[in-house]
């Protein structure tokens, strides 16, 4: 469904992504891990059109979407959330989701309906008339997911959807991810909390200093020498 | 004058003008850099600085360059008071509220000036530094050279202060991350008040050196304000060297355009250069 071929992104002299390739199959939950500064978010930005890679290609459903504007990529079917939460503070929760829903409709009624469905999935229905600015961080993260869902995306990319949450909130978030996946939506997750990522992922990509060091099923990843050395070993329980 | 001398003269004129613009621009850049807000009343602080120099001259017959420390101190105090009384209330508010406040403040200050001192143009007679020197046929007016040098020194001093001193680093830390700064024991309110005072003091110094060559009237600030803002944007909001170099660039383009193209269109050219620059570098030359 989504394929990256040799994606490379530089910031000045710094190689944020160095020749990264990966392949996500339809219906998968695909995890990306790596220590801070490994280039996970940069890779997300390259895929979703927020950054232009210097080299390499991004292919989505057989279409080359490399360097397409972010809004068109969203229309093509990839929606994302942000590590630093980006909700529309002055709009209500319902309206936030509606903004996403307007991606494929001009009708307010349709948008309202889609938004309600998305809010149901992320368990924010009871907050739908509150201002997004008044939500707590966990709720905001869920609201981002609702907005992404409401766009009708086939692929949802979640940037650290679990970081900074309490244990209970995290369990809820994992459940939401699973629910979304069960609707047939493909998911790419970024986390650096391994314990969260491993159980839910079908396949995991490990980045370190911008380079791909492993891509495999979770059970193999935890036994991979290089991963243990570079990531787990060096940084303990990072 | 041969064409080469004319070119040099035009550039020199531009640099002298640019350094005056920079004097105002640096104050704007400090406030923007530390507090992330824009002070539309900076030009009016300059006006107050000029009047302070003028009245000190009238009452005690001190040359503005001699009385500069007094002017600077007065303006610093004023800046801190303005911050505490007014600006502190909007520091967390949206940009529009900050704009509204400083706009209003500039209207009030201009008209308070009008109320207190009338609208007559005033100049300070018998200043210490005067006359013109000729270097290879290029005329350099000394009382325009003084502001230029002061402007350079001020840019250097402010830069040094922000980069090298403990207090300056506290300013920077605050500008980068307020919460973190508070965590390491920096009182952000104090930093803001001092930064605002510092910016006002810069305007005071600018007023001192400008009052020896320029006329003084309540609306004098607005004459420089727009160019100063454009200079700050051109250099990159918040960057002190950026504001200085932005000022020089505006000055030189004004001067070159005025001579080689047409006096009527020199603003168009200067602003055009600015617009073209920010279109390619949206955060200005040195912006971050």
């Amino acid at each position: 469904m989504l394929e990256l071929i040799g994606v490379t992104k530089k910031f000045g002299g710094l190689l944020a992504n160095d020749n990264v390739s990966m392949k996500v199959e339809k219906g998968q939950i695909y995890g990306i891990i790596g220590p801070n500064g490994a280039g996970k978010t940069t890779l997300f930005n390259c895929i979703t059109g927020f950054l232009r890679p210097e080299a390499g290609r991004v292919i989505f459903e057989g279409r080359d979407i490399t360097s397409m504007p972010a809004n068109l990529i969203c229309r093509a079917g990839i929606a994302r959330t942000f590590q630093i939460v980006q909700v529309l503070d002055s709009l209500t929760v319902q309206e936030n989701a509606m903004v996403g829903a307007f991606c494929h409709t001009n009708s307010r009624m349709v948008a309202e309906k889609k938004a309600s469905e998305a809010l149901d999935i992320v368990r924010l229905t009871d907050k739908s008339t509150s201002r997004a600015g008044s939500l707590n961080i966990a709720q905001k993260k869920r609201l981002q997911i609702a907005r992404a869902l409401a766009t009708g995306a086939k692929l949802v990319m979640l940037d650290e959807a679990m970081a900074g949450l309490t244990e209970a909130e995290r369990v809820q978030a994992v459940q939401i991810v699973k629910d979304i996946n069960s609707l047939g939506i493909t998911i790419v997750l970024i986390e650096h909390v391994m314990e969260v990522l491993m159980p839910v992922s079908d396949r995991v990509l490990v980045l370190n200093f911008g380079k791909k060091i492993a891509e495999d099923v979770p059970s193999s990843i935890v036994n991979n020498e290089e991963v243990i050395n570079a990531y787990l070993g060096g940084h303990g329980n990072a | 004058m041969n064409p080469f001398q004319v070119l040099i003269q035009t550039i020199v004129n531009g640099l002298l003008l640019g350094s005056i613009i920079a004097l105002v621009a640096i104050g704007i850049a400090i406030i923007r850099g530390v507090m992330d807000m824009v002070n539309f009343a900076q030009g009016e602080f300059l006006m107050l600085g000029m009047y302070a120099s003028y009245w000190i001259n009238v009452k005690w017959n001190l040359d503005p360059l001699v009385s500069a420390p007094i002017t600077i101190a007065l303006m610093f105090i004023l800046g801190v008071i303005v911050y505490k009384v007014l600006i502190a209330r909007v520091i967390e508010a949206p940009m529009l509220a900050q704009m509204l406040l400083t706009f209003g403040l500039s209207i009030v200050l201009v008209n308070v000036g009008l109320f207190l001192w009338g609208s007559q143009f005033k100049t300070i007679p018998n200043v210490l530094v005067k006359g013109t020197i000729s270097i290879g046929g290029v005329m350099v007016s000394l009382n325009a050279l003084v502001p230029a040098l002061v402007s350079l020194l001020m840019a250097g001093a402010v830069y040094w202060f922000l980069m090298k001193t403990r207090m300056g680093r506290a300013f920077q830390a605050t500008s980068m991350n307020k919460k973190a700064a508070a965590l390491v024991g920096i009182d952000t309110q104090t930093v803001y008040a001092l930064a605002f005072g510092l910016a006002a003091a810069c305007a005071g110094l600018a007023g001192s050196v400008l009052s020896i060559s320029y006329y003084i009237f309540p609306g004098v600030g607005s004459v420089f304000n727009l160019y100063a803002f454009v200079a700050v944007c051109l250099g990159g909001f918040g960057s002190i060297p950026g504001a200085f170099i932005g000022g020089l660039m505006i000055g030189v383009s004004d001067s070159l355009a005025g001579f080689y193209i047409s006096a009527a269109f020199k603003y168009v050219v200067a602003f055009g250069i600015y617009l073209v620059t920010v279109i390619f570098k949206p955060k200005g030359l040195f912006g971050w």
Partner: protein, 327 residues
Amino acid sequence: MKKYTVYILIAAALLAAIVLPRLLPKPFEKHVLILIMLYSILGSAWNILGGYTGQVSLGHAVFFGIGAYTSSIMLIKWGIVPWVGMLVGGVIATIVSIIIGLPTFKLRGFYFAIATIALGEMTRTLFLNWEWIGGAVGLELPIKRGDKLINLQFYLSKNNYYYVLLGIFLLTILAIYVIQKSKLGYYFRAVKDSHEAALASGIDTARTKLVAMGISAFITAIAGSVYAQYLLYIDPYVVFSSAISTRICLVAILGGEGRLFGPIIGSSILVILSEYSRAWLGGGGKGVDLIIYGTLIVLVAAFQPRGILGMVEMVKAKRQKAVVPNA
């Protein structure tokens, strides 16, 4: 029930707006009313771009002036009625706004604001030196007596200017209301709140801003045309002045930016204050009127940064909070 009250309120306000000029016989009072309406339109137009979409323009006089000049030139040079000139002016302003918007929308926040100031000054300089449209000497519009609506010139009854402006204002408000409820309205607000989130929701942010700017410029130009017909004299210092740009923006912010009825509230306060304080205090030549005017702006900004309507909302919210625990 609640909707019912709203309708009654709207009807009452409309009636008041229609009757008001009849109750105020003095031309100066009518002049004040006309200015209030004019700035309500201008503030509402600004609000579309500045309030809803979050792009603070300090150069709206550009569009105002283009509107004023287009209809005046068409009337003077070719004898075309101002209503046609008004629409042509609106279209030209829209085109200019897109030309301005394409490069400048890359700029964020203050950078955009300063760029619009610079553009305003540039436009004024160009018009000052453009001899074909009269340059600095300006244009005097031919006086047409007989108060025909088609001429958009009312020699005897100032009320008519007011009603024309009221009509334009109502249309503007209606248009904004419709936009607000539509996809476009959501997109405007999304762009304002978070550029990133907007992009990630499939919004073409640049295009959205251009649309906002285009609508805003169109309405501003229309108001400019009426103003030219009202003053019957324009020159670049009159219609391209930065004071107009600033005032348009102040009107919207003072009332509460991004709110449908913010501009009319802001404009009422600002115009009444500045016109009457000048009338009483301006004769002394001491600037007392402007001190008061500026002080009010400072006070509102310092104590109620979200504008008058923001304040009203806050008071309401407080009351509700106070009520809820008891209930």
